[in-house]
């Protein structure tokens, strides 16, 4: 179960089906990112795909009849219309049309009727309708999916399609479970279930032999774990996303001082960058050591290259040059990234911030923590964004505490020019489940959690910056161990639930996944489990706060009446 591989195989198939010859790949806004996350342009050139165009942008009328045109688009109304026009006056010799999802028959008819020149050679649905981020992580790139804490209809439609395509690309007909209490998760589960039942022909895979449990599709809700996206992360991929933001494998470094011209935007792909693939989940300390080793190796090689004395040396140089170039590119790229990370860590005092964040997330100690938050927020050494995060964590944790002083902290934040109006919105965003369970982890009735917490405390803290464990980790453990799930994660439809743990799990988080959760999944996969994580998007704290704001527009303030003075954004800010 590798989502990148799944997409790559689809694209390969698409291109090889079109046969030999010069090809042009026609895509839309979304499929172009899907393709670019699976293959680099140079790889596509080797597959004889020389030109790339977008169906939905203005294009020239120049005709090149000797080109084969592979169309890979989503089945949207706009695309059907544009394609219809294209077929009526074809610019290329032949067309190979691939839709990335299920397309209505009426639309096929419309297109067939437009193909007067008989230029369409192939017409298929292939289910590559999601962005593969890591081998175990996919995204649908929906930055905000809720409005008034309910599904935005377009986002719901896209999420359903995305999940259906993930299932089809792995040939799964899963049992679907959703987090009880979350209407968003339930709605999506219902939609996916309906689609599976409607498209019986597509989902007619052989059931697993010897009565093994079917794959599980588990739909969760970000509102149940609002803590994870707010914490500072210390693994490489998560850190880069948090501090520099990864947007579809690309990191924009144009704002960073002293960056070489060709590194204004860098691509981080596990497929093309071995160093990155090996160090995605390495923590900040490890990565610094690794880059040092890489540097030494590189310098050694660079040194070897420099002393070109004889013709043999020269020849040797030319022969190893491509690898040399490649390596030098990798080294410079990661060096720039890592040095920028460490500059930011220093500037923003992230070690101190992160330690306190972890404390609040994992341990109840109101008075000490309040003092520390107060000090950090008022001292002004840390950025307002980090100050806001601390206040948000505090506000959520001690919402019901008798001496809760969120409003005092927000005042301090306001004085510093922060955005205090986010706190009440956050309190409205989090779900009832999160409110009740997230911080009151130890309930006497819950023996498992109680012992787990006890053990954790006995063992002590291995790393103060990575104490917090995302909710997903616990959930996955319950699934893997085969604990009863029906109460918390009811099954959709009237299928008889299997008692045995499923062999494959696809987890989807409505409201966005995080790289920390991808790390948790990765750890399980290393133990031999087969889990894929997906989300409407991949969040860092900044994008998560935007999502919270978008989701709570117009929601009445029920839980945060005491923070009335902060309900509205100060004039001049968003």
């Amino acid at each position: 179960m590798n989502v990148i591989r799944a997409i790559q195989m689809y694209i390969d198939k698409m291109i090889s089906d079109a046969g030999a010859g010069m090809k042009l790949l026609m895509m839309d806004r979304e499929t172009i990112s899907i393709v670019s996350m699976a293959f680099a342009q140079s790889e596509m050139l080797q597959k004889e795909v020389f030109l790339f165009e977008r169906l939905d942008s203005v294009r020239s009328n120049e005709k090149l009849k000797y080109l084969k045109c592979i169309v890979f688009v989503r089945p949207t109304k706009d695309n059907i219309f544009l394609l219809q026009q294209e077929l009526q006056s074809p610019k290329f010799g032949s067309y190979y049309i691939y839709f990335s999802n299920i397309i209505p028959r009426t639309d096929i008819k419309i297109l067939a009727e437009s193909d007067e020149g008989e230029s369409v050679q192939d017409f298929k649905e292939i289910y590559a309708d999601y962005l593969p981020v890591n081998p175990n992580l996919f995204s649908l790139h929906i930055p905000t999916c809720l409005q008034a804490l309910n599904w935005n209809p377009e986002a719901l439609e896209r999420s359903t399609q995305g999940l259906v395509s993930v299932l089809l690309s792995f040939k799964f007909r899963p049992a679907i479970r959703y987090r009880s209490g979350s209407t968003a998760a339930q709605t999506l589960a219902k939609k996916v279930h309906e689609t599976i039942n409607k498209e019986t022909a597509l989902f007619s895979f052989r059931p697993p032999e010897d009565g093994a449990a079917p794959p599980l599709l588990l739909i969760l809700d970000r509102r149940d774990d609002p803590i994870t996206p707010l914490l500072n992360q210390w693994t490489y991929q998560a850190m880069v996303h948090e501090l520099l933001t990864i947007n579809k494998q690309r990191v924009d470094l144009s704002g960073v001082a002293g960056v070489p011209k060709d590194l204004k935007e860098v691509v981080l792909s596990t497929e093309q960058d071995e160093f990155y693939a090996n160090n995605l989940y390495a923590n900040f300390g490890e990565i610094a050591t690794t880059i040092k080793v890489l540097m030494d190796e590189f310098q050694k090689k660079a040194h070897d290259q420099r002393k070109i004395e004889s013709i043999a040396d020269m020849k040797n140089f030319v022969e190893t040059y491509p690898q040399f170039r490649k390596m030098s590119g990798t080294v410079t790229k990661h060096l720039v990234l890592i040095s920028e990370l460490s500059v930011q860590v220093g500037q923003q005092q992230l070690f101190e911030v992160s330690e306190l964040e972890q404390e609040i997330a994992c341990r109840a100690d109101h008075s000490t923590q309040l003092q520390r938050v107060k000090r950090l927020v008022s001292e002004g050494k840390i950025s307002t964004a980090n100050a806001l995060r601390l206040v948000l964590l505090y506000a959520m944790r001690y919402e019901r505490h008798a001496n809760c002083d969120t409003s005092g902290l927000l005042k301090l934040l306001q004085e510093r020019g922060g955005r205090p109006h986010i706190a009440p919105r956050m309190l409205e965003y989090i779900s009832t489940v999160a409110r009740q369970e997230l911080f009151n982890t130890v309930k006497i009735t819950d023996a498992v959690k109680l012992t787990r917490n006890l053990i954790k405390e006995l063992k002590g803290v291995e790393n103060v910056y990575a104490q917090h464990e995302c909710v997903l980790k616990g959930t996955l453990e319950e699934i893997i161990k085969g604990r009863p799930l029906d109460a918390q994660y009811p099954i959709m439809g009237n299928e008889v639930p299997f008692r045995r743990p499923p062999a494959e799990v696809i987890v989807f988080i409505v409201g966005g996944a995080t790289y920390e959760e991808a790390l948790a999944v990765h750890r399980y996969n290393q133990e031999g489990h087969r889990i894929v994580l997906g989300g409407t998007t991949i969040h860092n704290s900044e994008s998560f706060i935007e999502e919270v704001l978008a989701a709570t527009v117009g929601v009445p303030f029920k839980h945060s009446r005491s923070l009335q003075q902060f309900h509205h954004a100060p004039a001049g800010t968003a």
């Binding site: 140079s42 020239s60 009849k65 000797y66 007067e116 597509l202 491509p322």
Partner: protein, 534 residues
């Protein structure tokens, strides 16, 4: 592994393990046989355990047994890594591990750690391409009737065009009369509005007739087909359009045109005719870009297998095998170099073709050149350099010594086994007779030869020289074996000259088998009284 000899290898490797150890009763036993009590234990694990328990006194035998299995395992790992799709099959029949052992000792050594380097869980493994849904059948079902109708309609129009062109007068009035005589025109009085733009006819908006279908439209909805275009439609083979951009420019609607050199046609007919013309032109045209590209493509598909072969030859050389020569590698390398140069040149001249800057064609040319450069860089220039001759010699020498030592040790073991057997059976087994029996039965000899060849390829090939000198003086062409050997040698020379290294490898293997066979026969002849196994 696509030469016919491997088929035998698999069987012979196991049977020879039996033949090697105890073909006492002339019958060949197969499987995982215990060398002492001859029972078939079926799996290597059980065999090892059996020997451990039953024959614990023979420590050295156990050791060699374990060694064989560990080599076998290495071989399997190696196989699994090379062909991940076959992971399931590697623990198949009893014959498999033995042939794998051969495989392992041939190419193995350096690959010992390769099997563990990658975490199998992170490998894509058996992931297959996902679901897809075919709609072409439905698409065609909708499209075909329409296309047929259009085709019939277009053909009708073209027949009319043919008639119109036949004896067409140039004088406008005569032309009009001619046109009207060939195609019946619709009665203009019946039509009140222009069917295309729905505007009423009158003094300012006059009626016009389509010359091919006879329908009525207004002037601004008229299209014009030049006589030259009409001629091309009627008779596509005679007039060839200029290369590339000679497609007819979209006629300007309502543009002032000289009636004599055009046919006035309606929008609908124009469309049908233009579609026909485009497909006609497209089928005929062979633009330069395409021609150049096809050269590039052919060059690439031609050279691709050579690159793979070059790497295999190098691997084989570094393993100390003597199937290929260093000169083979260097000729191949030269060929790849020449091909790279050719690719570079062709793609360069492709880039110099004329195209407007910023056009699609321009971008295409640049992309092709770019793809070509990166192919040359990554596939062709990155091939490893030629090894140094001394180094290869050193490796071959070391390998030869290794195999000789192993051969010696196993002979020793076999000898001990025989002696023990002799003791047990009270000397009833005549080893010499058995030996003779084994070699006179051609199948058994062949299998022994193949086994030896496979596993101790280097050692066998060193005998090549020996046979050469031996046969030299007593060279009687009456011996079919020698003929055969000479023929095969000739083939090898030819294959080498033609750079067909796959064949060279097969033939070399063939040759060493022949010489092996020859060697045994010679020995049988000369040794009047065969000794025990040496």
């Amino acid at each position: 592994m696509d030469n016919p000899f491997d088929m035998h290898d698999k069987e012979s490797a196991t049977s020879s393990s039996g033949a090697f150890l105890l073909p006492a009763d002339g019958e060949i036993l197969e499987g995982f046989l215990c060398p002492i009590c001859k029972c078939d234990l079926r799996t290597p694990e059980r065999l090892t355990v059996h020997v451990e328990h039953e024959h614990s006194e023979e420590q050295d035998l156990l050791k060699s047994l374990k060694e064989i299995f560990s080599i076998a395992r290495q071989g399997i790992l190696l196989k699994g890594k090379k062909k991940p799709s076959q992971t399931g099959g590697s623990d198949g029949g009893a014959g498999e591990p033995m042939s794998a052992a051969r495989f392992g000792s041939e190419t193995g050594v350096a690959l010992g750690s390769a099997g563990t380097a990658n975490n199998p869980l992170l490998q894509p493994g058996n992931q297959t391409v996902g679901c897809s849904c075919e709609h072409m059948a439905y698409f065609k079902a909708v499209r075909s009737p329409r296309l047929e109708r259009y085709a019939a309609e277009t053909n009708k129009l073209i027949i009319r065009l043919d008639k119109l062109l036949d004896g067409l007068p140039t004088e406008p009035d005569l032309k009009k009369r001619h046109e009207q005589s060939k195609v019946p025109w619709i009665d203009g009085k019946l039509v009140k509005l222009c069917p295309t733009c729905a505007k009423s006819f009158g003094i300012t908006r006059r009626q016009h007739h389509c010359r091919v279908c006879g329908s009525v439209m207004c002037d601004s909805c008229s299209r014009y087909l030049t006589l030259e275009e009409a001629g091309r439609l009627v008779n596509p083979t005679t007039i060839s359009p200029g290369a590339g951009g000679a497609l007819p420019a979209e006629p300007q609607p309502g543009a002032p045109v000289n009636e004599s050199s055009h046919f006035r046609v309606c929008e609908h007919c124009m469309r049908l005719l233009m579609i026909r013309m485009e497909t006609q032109d497209w089928k005929r045209e062979r633009p330069l870009v395409k021609q150049f590209y096809e050269t590039l493509r052919k060059e690439r598909t031609d050279i691709e297998p050579h690159i793979g072969m070059y790497r295999r030859i190098l691997d084989s050389l570094y393993e100390g095998d003597v199937i290929y020569r260093l000169s083979d590698a260097s000729t191949l390398r030269e060929k790849i170099g020449r091909s790279a140069e050719k690719l570079d040149n062709v793609s360069k001249s492709l880039q110099t073709l004329r195209a407007t800057v910023g056009s699609r064609e321009d971008a295409l040319k640049k992309a092709i050149r770019l793809g070509c450069i990166s192919y040359i860089k990554e596939r062709m220039l990155s091939i490893p350099p030629l090894p140094v001759e001394e180094e290869i010699k050193r490796i071959q020498h070391r390998k030869r010594q290794d195999t000789e030592r192993r051969l010696e040790r196993e002979r020793q073991l076999a000898l001990e086994a025989f002696e023990r057997l002799e003791l047990q059976s009270g000397g009833s087994v005549d080893v010499g007779a058995d030996r003779q029996n084994g070699s006179s039965s051609s199948s058994s000899t062949a299998s022994t030869a193949e086994m030896t060849n496979g596993r101790y390829g280097a050692a066998v090939s060193t005998m090549d020289n020996w046979t050469g000198t031996q046969t030299g003086p007593s060279n009687t062409t009456s011996d079919p074996l020698i003929d055969q050997i000479n023929i095969v040698k000739g083939y090898i020379r030819q294959a080498r000259a033609a750079l067909r290294f796959e064949e060279v490898a097969t033939l070399e293997r063939n040759l060493s088998e022949l010489t092996q066979e020859f060697y045994y026969r010679q020995r049988l002849d000369t040794d009047a009284k065969p000794q025990e196994l040496q």
